[in-house]
């Protein structure tokens, strides 16, 4: 059961990472990246690292997303291809 949870979460992480990389809309990419942080936080917690999980939830999912959003607000939202 434990390994199944880890496998599902890691596959989800890979899937989210791919969608972040493929997103042309940078706002969508930031929101997906915040989701990546939250899922990674669950993985840390499940692997017995609650200290890292707390920091991941606050910094990985919270603070960095806001800083990315501020950057988008100051530049442009769409990626030039």
């Amino acid at each position: 059961m434990s390994d199944v949870f880890d496998a599902v979460m890691l596959l989800l992480l890979i899937a989210i990472a791919v969608t972040v990389g493929r997103a042309k809309d940078l706002l969508a990419a930031v929101v997906k990246f915040a989701l990546y942080g939250l899922v990674l936080c669950l993985v840390w917690q499940h692997r017995g690292a609650p200290d890292v999980a707390i920091t991941e939830a606050a910094v990985g999912a919270g603070v960095t997303s806001v800083l990315f959003l501020l950057t988008i607000a100051k530049t442009t939202r769409a990626e030039k291809s």
Binding site: D51, L69, A73, K74
Partner: protein
């Protein structure tokens, strides 16, 4: 070029998978990581440091010097950001992202700093939820700081939660009102609190034990050890939180 990139990704992934496959199974007792100093820390850590959270014990006592430099690195990052010229990102036409998904051209007036708040009204749901949760988040951060040597948590976690709380409040109540939480004269000292308190504790430890960042080892000095650790935790938490808040304000301003 595109195929070269894809090939590079596959090579890197194959290298990493090969590396991970070589790791011992998670939790194996005779893995190298458990045969080195880790076993000694786990065996004597609680008795030597008086801390039941081994992560904090290793961070602040056994590897205190590393943590000192880590705090200095965070402080240096803030100094680098503050050294950037203000308004450097305003070269192009500034665009504001509104919740409805449309992008609107911001006013080109350089004095209109932070049009994000003015143009985009905060949703009542977000306003209510942040106001409702803020005290609980603050209590969680304080508990994480106060009980960091017993339960998961500690100075860095507390700093991250406090910093995130400040950013949430600043997004809802506006930058000016949030900035008043930490007045400018206090900010100058508080953002350096981590390195300053670390240096202070290291000096105290030097005077007491003759070793930089040394902790008195005898059982009678338990209170002194505890005071040193709590001072470090407060420095990391307050300094880190102010640094996160400053990073936010520097980027937004």
């Amino acid at each position: 070029m595109r195929w070269l990139g894809i090939a590079l990704v596959f090579v890197a992934a194959a290298t990493m998978i090969a590396g991970v496959a070589d790791l011992p199974v998670h939790g194996t007792p005779d893995a190298p990581i458990h045969r080195h100093v880790g076993a000694r820390y786990l065996e004597h850590g609680v008795a030597e440091t008086g801390m039941r959270n081994m992560v904090t014990a290793v961070l602040l006592v056994y590897r205190g010097f590393d943590t000192f430099l880590e705090v200095v690195v965070i402080f240096t990052a803030l100094v680098a950001v503050l050294a950037l010229p203000r308004g450097a990102g305003k070269a192009g036409p500034a665009r504001v992202v509104s919740p409805s998904g449309s992008t609107a051209a911001a006013t080109s007036d350089a004095d209109a700093v932070g049009p994000q708040q003015a143009d985009v009204p905060v949703s009542p749901v977000v306003f209510f939820v942040v106001r409702l949760l803020a005290p609980f988040i603050a209590i969680f951060a304080l508990a994480s700081l106060y009980r960091g040597h017993i339960t998961p948590g500690g100075g860095f976690q507390s700093a991250a939660i406090f910093g995130a709380l400040f950013i949430a409040l600043a997004l809802v109540f506006g930058r000016e009102r949030a900035a008043r939480l930490v007045p400018v004269p206090a900010r100058v000292w508080l953002q350096a609190l981590g390195p300053v308190l670390f240096a202070l504790v290291a000096f105290v430890g030097w005077c007491l034990t003759g070793a930089f960042l040394g902790y008195p080892a005898d059982a009678a000095a338990h209170a002194v050890r505890e005071a040193m650790v709590v001072t470090l935790e407060v420095g990391i938490a307050v300094g880190g939180a102010v640094i996160l808040a400053q990073l936010f304000m520097a980027m937004e301003g």
